[in-house]
Structure formats: C-alpha cells, structure tokens
C-alpha cells in the first residue's frame, strides 16, 4: 500500500546521491476520515489522503529545501539544490543508521474501523451520550476523526526508517439554549488505539453543561485556581514549551536562560519529553530528521535538567540533537518541537486539590495570547465553577486569570487524573499526557 511513498522517497534520495550531495528525504502519507456533528445529528462524512515529500539538500555546507508530490521528485530535488546557495553555511551532520526503539503507536483495530466505515456509528454514540442526559441538552457541534499515517525518512548516509501510526479523536460541544445566549461546555479525547468510550465522551460534555445552570459569585484576588488537564496543557504549551527550546535559550529569549540546575518548579514536579512510551500522543521511533527517539528529562524534582534540540540547533549550541526535529507535514523544513510532553507531580486525588475558596476551570480562552517570551498571561477561565470548602458550586462568569506561568509553576500542585491531550494548531500539534493542576499564585478578577 505504501510502495508509492517508499519508492518516491528512494527515487528522490538517488537523485540527491547522483549529484554527490548530502541530504534527506521525508515522506508522509496520511488517510483521514472524519464525521461532523451539527445540531444533534451526524451531518457529513469527509475523507482526505495526503501524500508528499520534503527534500533537504546540503551543498557546500548550505541547506536548501523543496517539497513536491510523488512523480515530481526531479523538480523537488532541483529546487532544493538551487535554493541551497542562498542559505547560511552550517555543517549539518545527518544521522547514520542505528537501532531505534519501537513504541506502540499503531492499532490494527483502528485501521479496520476506518476501512469498515465504523466512524459513523461511533459518532452516533457520542451524539446519543450527549442527548440522553436531559431533554434540553443538545450536542450542537463536534466531530470524530480516524487517521492512519505513514512516515518515511531516508538520508544519504544510509538511514531509511519507516513508521505507521493510528489515531482516533473526538470532541463535542453540548449546549443548553437560553433566551438571550446559550450556555455550552465541551469534551474531547484522543487515543492511538481503539479504546475510547464514545458514549461517555458525549455524556461527559452533557454533564459539564448541566452543572452550569446555576451561577455563583466570582471570588477575586489571589485565590487558588484548579485547572483541568486540557486547559493546563494549553497554558503549558504556550508558556513553558517555548522556554525549553534550545534556540530560545541560546538567543536569550527564554526565562530559563542560564538557569540549568536551578529549582524552577514545585519539588515533586516532573516534566519530560518521552516519545518512547507506548501509545503516547506524540510517540514514534524517530523524529522527522531520522534521529532515534529518546526520553528527555526537562524538569526533574522541580529542577531544570535539559532543553530540546534538533540537528541544526545542536550544532549552533554545541550539543547533540535530542530527537526533537519535527516538520509539521511534508511542506516545512524541520524545526525544534516538543514530541510527547509528560507532566507528573504529587499525584493527589483531584478532590484534595480543591481549595476552601477558589475556582475550578475546565477551559481557557486566549491561551495563545500568553507572552511566550516572559510567560505572562491573562486568560479567561470558561467554563469555570466556584469552589467553596472543597466543594464545586455554581458557574462563575468572566473569570480572568492572570499571572506568570514560570513563577506559578514553582508552587503548582498536580493531581492524578492523567489525560492524553492533543490539539492541532495549523501545522503544529500539542501532544501531552498530564493531570489537573492547582495554581497557588495567580490573580483572579472580573466581577
């Protein structure tokens, strides 16, 4: 089935080789089937198959990049070679062949479901789960997607690696209509294997919106904020992930510059990038430059331990690639990227994190407006609930949560409700495994 992709990568590599140039060729093939939910019904089915090559050529120490579809390899290689004359000179060391770990990332059952068109049934289960709780709750939007992906990377130093992955993701927005404006809440989940409980996903969104009917007064000031995994993941990705990027460290654009070995988070916090774990959201045997995957400890016992690098930055920073070169599709050259961020802490029960007075937040609006250089943020927690005496009360509106994320991390407590979190942002993806967290040093305003 993937003969076309493999042949095309090999052909492009031979063309690079014939020119006595160094280089690598990255091929991608992805088949995605999706189903959309509109107003309580399955509205449509969509499918796309993507196929393409990214060609990186190194000529006289300079790197050029071109991309093309199979059959157009000659043009792609020629373009990459021509453009190489314009780039900076850098002795990029492409990896040589070595053993790679093989984390589990492909489930045959996902592929079978995709081929048998079972996604429509699964989508209906999500819809029914959301509809069945109360008569006035409607899953107004949402969808489910099943994808099978193939990646191939080969280079002129003998590397030729292949991987196949599967993924199922679904999300639904449950809505209660009101006279003026509606109230809504969403639930989304992701898995690389066929283990999601689709009915429960719909039910969970419905239960969330059902709990928002009654309002409570927003507590203001420096009150604790407990934040669910998805929202915590969004803040961490926009606020901390840029700070561990090796290039930002070298250029002084990270709050963690010069702080290696220092305590930067609460005592028990562990943050690592681990693409070697089975069924991880961003797991895989190698990165998009053919560097074998490895575990990268970033914060251990609250202490800053490592940053992440791709091949190019490794040379500039005089270190080794950590296997963090990703491309975000075949059209982009590799860039430093997190692979599969794992966050762990004390592992307390979430109920134990609920404060005497504070708020519980399920989602945040504006995580992308966080200042990636300083980590300062001011986002709206929504939906959010008042917490009093450790109990979740009514909905609070307009809860603006402000603070500095690296500072807040120093006193953050983590729960044990671990969730695999995935979100797509253009060509970039958030891939994490993390629990709920309690921020103890942020400000809430907005009454």
């Amino acid at each position: 089935m993937n003969g076309k992709l493999n042949d095309s990568v090999k052909k492009a590599l031979e063309l690079v080789d014939k020119k006595n140039l160094d280089g690598d060729v990255f091929g991608i093939k992805e088949r995605n089937i999706s189903y959309s939910i509109e107003k309580g019904e399955l509205a449509e089915s969509s499918e796309y198959e993507d196929l393409g090559l990214g060609i990186r050529v190194i000529k006289d120490g300079k790197i050029g990049f071109g991309y093309c579809t199979p059959g157009k390899e000659e043009k792609g290689v020629r373009r990459a070679e021509e453009l190489s004359t314009l780039s900076q000179e850098l002795e990029l060391k492409l990896p040589r062949e070595e053993d790679v770990s093989e984390p589990k990332i492909f489930d045959k059952k996902v592929e079978e479901s995709s081929l048998e068109g079972k996604g429509a049934e699964f989508t209906q289960q999500v819809i029914d789960g959301a509809k069945d709780l109360k008569d006035d709750i409607m899953p107004t939007r949402g969808g489910l997607s099943i994808s099978i992906g193939h990646k191939v990377i080969g280079n002129t130093r003998g590397v030729f690696l292949k991987q196949k992955n599967s993924a199922v993701s679904t999300g639904v927005l449950a809505t209660i209509p009101r006279d003026e404006t509606s109230i809504n809440a969403s639930e989304s989940r992701f898995s690389r294997k066929m283990d999601l409980d689709f009915t429960d996903i719909g039910k969970s969104a419905a239960e969330k919106v059902d709990s928002l009917r009654e309002g409570s007064e927003l507590p203001e000031g420096d009150v604790p904020v407990v934040i669910n995994p998805d929202a915590f993941g969004m803040l961490m990705w926009f606020g901390i992930v840029p700070a561990i990027n090796g290039e930002n460290i070298r250029k002084g654009k990270s709050v963690y510059e010069g702080r290696m070995g220092e305590k930067v988070a609460s005592e028990e916090l562990l943050m690592k990038d681990d693409p070697t774990m089975d069924w991880g959201v961003g797991s895989g045997p190698f990165d998009d430059e053919g560097v074998p995957s490895r575990k990268v400890p970033i914060i251990e016992d609250g202490t800053l331990a490592h940053f992440i690098y791709d091949l190019k930055e490794a040379i500039k920073s005089d270190t080794e690639s950590t296997g963090n070169g990703l491309r975000g599709g075949f059209k982009n050259p590799p860039d430093i990227s997190d692979r599969n961020i794992i966050l762990r802490g004390e592992g307390k029960k979430k109920e134990k994190l609920l404060p005497d007075k504070g708020i519980l937040v399920d989602g945040v609006m504006g995580a992308h407006t966080l200042n990636p250089a300083s980590g300062d943020f001011s986002v709206v927690g929504t939906p959010a609930w008042l917490v009093e005496d450790g109990e979740i009360k009514g909905k609070v509106e307009g809860a603006m949560i402000s603070g500095n994320l690296p500072d807040a991390l120093e006193t953050t407590e983590l729960a044990d409700d671990y969730k695999k979190f995935h979100a797509s942002l253009g060509s970039r993806e958030i891939k994490m495994d993390l629990p709920s967290a309690r921020f103890n040093s942020v400000t809430v305003s907005g009454k």
């Binding site: 107003k39 021509e82 314009l86 305003s445 907005g446």
Partner: protein
C-alpha cells in the same frame, strides 16, 4: 475526464448536488533569523476536493492524486449516502447565479518574476532597519503563494481564478527586567509591490518594543477601553464576525441567532465584511463558485446580514453571499470572513480620550478568542497605555480584556474618523487569510485582566 464529466457521472448515479474544486499551490517561504538565512523553501502541490450531497447527507473527499478524481467522486457519493442514513433534518443548497468566468487577481509586480536572491536581499535589508540597541533578536519571514483554482458545480458554474498572496512578518525581541516581543505582519492579495509596506511599519514595531521594555503590568477590573484601529478590526472580526457566520447561527451556536433586524450594537456601529475590497482576505469567487460581494453585517447598530454559504442560506431562508472558504484542496469550505471593517465615525482622537477618567488605550492585537454561543470574548493587546483623567499615562504590557459581545457592542460610545487595517490568519479548524480594520473606538466598560 473533465470536471464536468465527473460531475455528470455522479449526478447520473443519483447525487443531489456535486462540486469539484481543483487547486494548485506554488509557495516560496524564507526565514531570516538574527542575520542568518535559516530557511529557504519552495514547493508546489496540487489536488482536488469533491463534495457530494445525496438527499440530506454530505460526503467530501480530498485527494492529491488528480488521476483518481473519478474514484474520489465515487467514494464521496458512497459517503454521502451513508451520511444520509443518519440524517433526519432536511438540507439543500440555496440558488445562486451561475458563472463561467476566468479571473486573474492583479499583481503590479509579479512575484514569480522576482528571483529568490532578490527576496532574500529584501529581508536582509529590512533587518538592517531593525538593528537597534534594545533589540536582542530579530526574525523576519517572507511568504508568497500563488493559488490557481478551478471550481465546477452541478448547477453549471465553472470558474477559474488565480489568487496571489504575499506576506512579510517582523518579530523582534528585547530584554529588560522581562523579555518582551513586538511583531507585525504586512501583506495582502497582490504582487511584490506589497513588500514596500514593511518599511512603513518598521518604526511601529521598534517603538512598540522599546515602550514594552519599560512598561508595567496593568490594573485589573472593569474600566473604559479605547481600541486602536487594528484592535478594533480584530474585535469586529473575533467578537462579532464569528457569531455572524451562518454555520454557527444555523446550528444553535451563535448569540446572534434569530436577531436579524434587532438592535445588537450602539447606533454608531456599522460593520462590513467585503472580499471585493483590497485586502489579504480578498477573492473574486468563493470556494463554492459564488461571486464575491460586500456584506453589511451591522448597519447603524441593527443586525442586517450573516456571512452565508449556500447550504446555510438554504437553512436560514436567506440569500448566499459568497461566504464559503476552504484552507486548501484537502478540506471542504467553511463559512468564513474576508476583510472585516468597522466603519469610521466622526470624532477626533483627542475628543475620545477626553471622555475617559480611568481606562486603558490598547493598541495592536496580540490575539483573541471567542465563544460564539455564549457570546463571550477574550483579547490581548500588544501595546497599551493607562488613561488617567482624559490623558495618556504610563505604558502597560500584557493587557488582556474580556466581556460579553452583545453588551460590549452596545457599550461603544465613540468612534474616530481615520481608518486603518491589519492582516491576519483566522483559525476555525482551518486557516484563512483575512484583513481586519476600523478606527479608534471607545468602549465604556470591559473587564481588564491584570495582576494589580
């Protein structure tokens, strides 16, 4: 087989409606970071999206293999038939005038005729202008994209169009007691001539960074807010425009549902979305082949229109107005904005400021997000100043504000005369090039989020 032959074939097999959008993209992308040409990229891709409606169910298939188009159409029909089994609510496509036309959007200076060397030289020259003591790091990006589209529908429309888009980004970073950054994107639909505009904006980016390095964290709570033209544009797009997208309206996800003809904003507010004006979000036909036209969404505070594709126009019993846009051939079109403008008013800036005892003057967007169903929004300004007793006071950094869309639109009490626009990329599961614009606008009350 021609697109028409494939469409005829699918219709003969029972399809209610079918359209095919074939695209070719040619892109050059350059990144200059701190004096080094980090990325020099060029490539082409092509593919097509086939959409089939069977009774009330849709099937959409995107493929990069143009030799397999008939097969893609067969799969789309099978998927549409399967979708129909699950669908009870009726659907359809509102009628539009059909067109057979070929349109090429103009480039004064064709970027395909400019060598990559010259484009690299442009970035290097621009970088020299950003070389100031307080700038620690610079990142400049140049992207040009030429898109050729051919759209055929089972109603008889067959249009071909060529859309050139070009954009330059300037991102600079500096450090004082905190690290701050300032960025600006400059571009539009057109040719290489648009790169000149980057030079006009360089001082804005520099001045902003210098100010931010001295700025303080903002106060929090409810207060007055003056938005500059760029932020007004982004506010009009995010807080209001998304709620006016008919796919959200027809599925119960918009606070504007059922409000056509109602007063939704103060009398001085008029908002247009116009793909036919000069802008980054311009196009001659939308991605269903409907001719582009200007839409007046709000007229003197009254909700006047939605942004409508053909299906949602059918559902809402309204007239389609060219609101369907797709990111590329892999995906079906969604209802999207184009160039969204809040029309200028009649006040001078000084008059606006004088009306504020305590508030914030916020400039240039740092991004925003909206919940269209609940009618709430959050925004971030790149640059801001405290306003005290009718005068601009100290600079502020990391200013965000939030509120309720309908309440906030009613709270607009002043709009100045000048109009300015900015460009951006709107995300709604797919990316779309857009222009947003307006004037300086006074909102009597919003919630500002701060740490004091």
């Amino acid at each position: 087989m021609s697109l028409k032959d494939i469409i005829d074939y699918v219709r003969d097999e029972g399809a209610t409606y079918c359209d095919i959008r074939k695209e070719r993209w040619d892109t050059t992308s350059l990144t200059l970071k701190d004096g080094e040409m980090e990325k020099v990229t060029s490539g082409s891709e092509e593919g097509a999206m086939v959409r089939v409606l069977y009774k009330n169910g849709w099937g959409n298939v995107g493929t990069s293999d143009l030799s397999e188009l008939k097969n893609a159409a067969e799969r789309a029909l099978a998927m549409a038939k399967n979708s129909d089994k699950y669908k009870e609510e009726k659907t359809g496509m509102a009628d539009v005038e059909t067109h057979e036309e070929k349109v090429e959007m103009p480039m004064e200076d064709n970027f395909l005729d400019i060598s990559t060397e010259e484009k690299v030289s442009f970035l290097k020259d621009l970088e020299k202008h950003l070389d100031k003591g307080f700038v620690r790091s610079t990142e400049l990006r140049y992207i040009d994209r030429l898109v050729d589209k051919e759209i055929a529908t089972s109603d008889g429309t067959h249009v071909e169009m060529r859309i050139p888009r070009i954009v330059t980004y300037m991102i600079i970073t500096g450090k004082s007691d905190t690290i701050q950054r300032s960025s600006e994107g400059i571009g539009g639909t057109g040719g290489y001539e648009l790169t000149e505009r980057a030079y006009e904006k360089k001082d804005i980016v520099l001045d902003r960074l210098e100010t931010l390095l001295e700025a303080e964290t903002p106060p929090s709570g409810k207060m007055s807010l003056i938005m500059d033209p760029h932020l007004t544009g982004v506010f009009s797009h995010e807080a209001f425009g998304h709620a006016a997208e008919s796919d959200l309206v027809s599925t119960g996800n918009s606070c504007l549902e059922g409000k056509i003809g109602d007063k939704v904003a103060s009398d001085i507010v008029t908002i247009n979305d116009d793909p036919t004006m000069e802008g980054y979000g311009s196009f001659p036909f939308d991605d269903e082949g409907t001719k582009a036209r200007s839409r007046t969404l709000v007229k003197d505070g009254i909700l006047n229109d939605f942004i409508l594709d053909r299906e949602n126009a059918w559902k809402l019993d309204m007239e389609p107005n060219g609101g369907a846009r797709a990111e590329d051939f892999r995906v079906k079109p969604l209802v999207r904005m184009s160039n969204t403008i809040m029309e200028p008013g009649d006040m001078e800036f000084d008059e606006l400021i004088e009306e504020v005892d305590k508030g914030v003057y916020a400039k240039s967007s740092g991004g925003g997000q909206v919940n269209t169903g609940e009618g709430t929004f959050q925004f971030n300004a790149q640059e801001a100043y405290l306003i005290k007793d009718g005068e601009i006071d100290k600079p502020l950094r990391d200013v965000s504000f939030n509120g309720f869309t309908l309440r906030t639109l009613q709270n607009i009490t002043g709009i100045t005369k000048e109009l300015d626009t900015g460009i951006g990329h709107c995300g709604k599961g797919q990316t779309a090039a857009v222009t947003d614009g307006g004037s300086n606008v006074l909102i009597s009350e919003v919630t500002v989020g701060g740490r004091e």
